[in-house]
Amino acid sequence: MYIYSGKAGWARNFCSSMMDGEIIIKDKDYRGSRGKKEKYVVCGGKLVESIEQDHNRKIHTVFGEFRKTYQKAKLEKEEYYQSDWRIKWKGLFFRQVNQDHILERYASGGSMSREIVYWKNKKLMYNLGKGNKNIKIFNKDGSLLAKISLSKRLSLYSDKYGLHVDFREVRKLTAMFRGNWYYELYDARGTVRSWLKGKNSIPEEGVRNRHKLYFLRGIQVPKKVISGKYDASYILSYPNSTIRSEMLKSYGIERVVRELHGETIEKKGEYELLQFPIPQGVEPDRIMKVLQMQCPSTQVWYTLRVSPECKNIHEAINWTYGLDLRDIRKTGQTVDILAAT
């Protein structure tokens, strides 16, 4: 085995080979106080064991078997491996003690098969097996918190950071899953007080503390957004741009123009460019610009919402034809309409 000292600095590097023995490295910081300490055990030319001590943290590795992490002499994390650093073929391969829970992961046939999470008081939080579509989550006192039903099983990842089912997200009614899913939360008497239903990480409907929740494109909205009982000024003052766009589509730009009139930026022949303030908008969407035009053959006026960066009718028309505003301004590119009906 070859040992290199990477951090030793100029003229202090060394390279040595050894078959059996121990290497101890003691680190000092620039002030001379004690730093990291490392011990390596070499047997038959192979590294078999290491102990790394860095202040309160100690990592003990037996290569091909385990790695254990201690914090202030308390065992915090256990990882069990095969010789090639793959997770242990069968049984417990990961255990981590966290602030309020203990996470255990088990393998079968070399892949993760189960995740069990306990509260610090040893009560079960959940027991999730590979292929499970129905999951029960329990409170710290052992009472049932939630039941989750999934159409697609949860994928289990051996190296996932954190839990596969986020207890806090479930409790806040913000957890989402793949496929069709539904979960309900229980109160202390065991009755359902809240539930949420959705598809592919998008909530569709639910109840929180017996009050109905409404969603549009997965975003929670007030009831009036779904029932359509709003006016143009409500739409333009709505803070979320996704919902504002959805409401504008279903309400119709024409109705907004009729109701709010707006401010004319330019009027020329059969075209008029208008602008409306959006109080909750974020630059450049603090104003909505609308191009009104009259169809030459039907004489009907129709409206198109245009980019808020259009400064005049010329830019707005060419923008609707698909041209880039930079090209219109810099190269003078325009669409020359030879005939229109």
Partner: protein, 120 residues
Amino acid sequence: MKAYRQGELLFVLQTIKDVQGLKKALAEGKKTTVVAEGEATGHKHELADPATGILVDIEDAFVWIDNENPKFNNFQKILHTEKGTTIKHPDHQDLYLPGGTYYIRAQREYDEEMARQVRD
């Protein structure tokens, strides 16, 4: 850029150098006689006489003409007519298009959400 317009549809006249590319696009695109269908009314913009032009939908075809893909510029269909063709629609007057090749797209409308995604 020279174009003809019927309602919200834009027929952009093209000068094609890559004749083989055009032939391939016309052969591989999905043949149709309907240029576009009205979302609310169901009224169609369509070829008055399908024998006068070849109209193809390039949505699912790999089209490469004159070193560019018309889909990248939001064109949805290609129309080629040798001697000219007419587009009819119940609400609009007939639009006569002289012989040539046209890329077709609809007038676009600003969508705050889409623009935000592009900006992000």
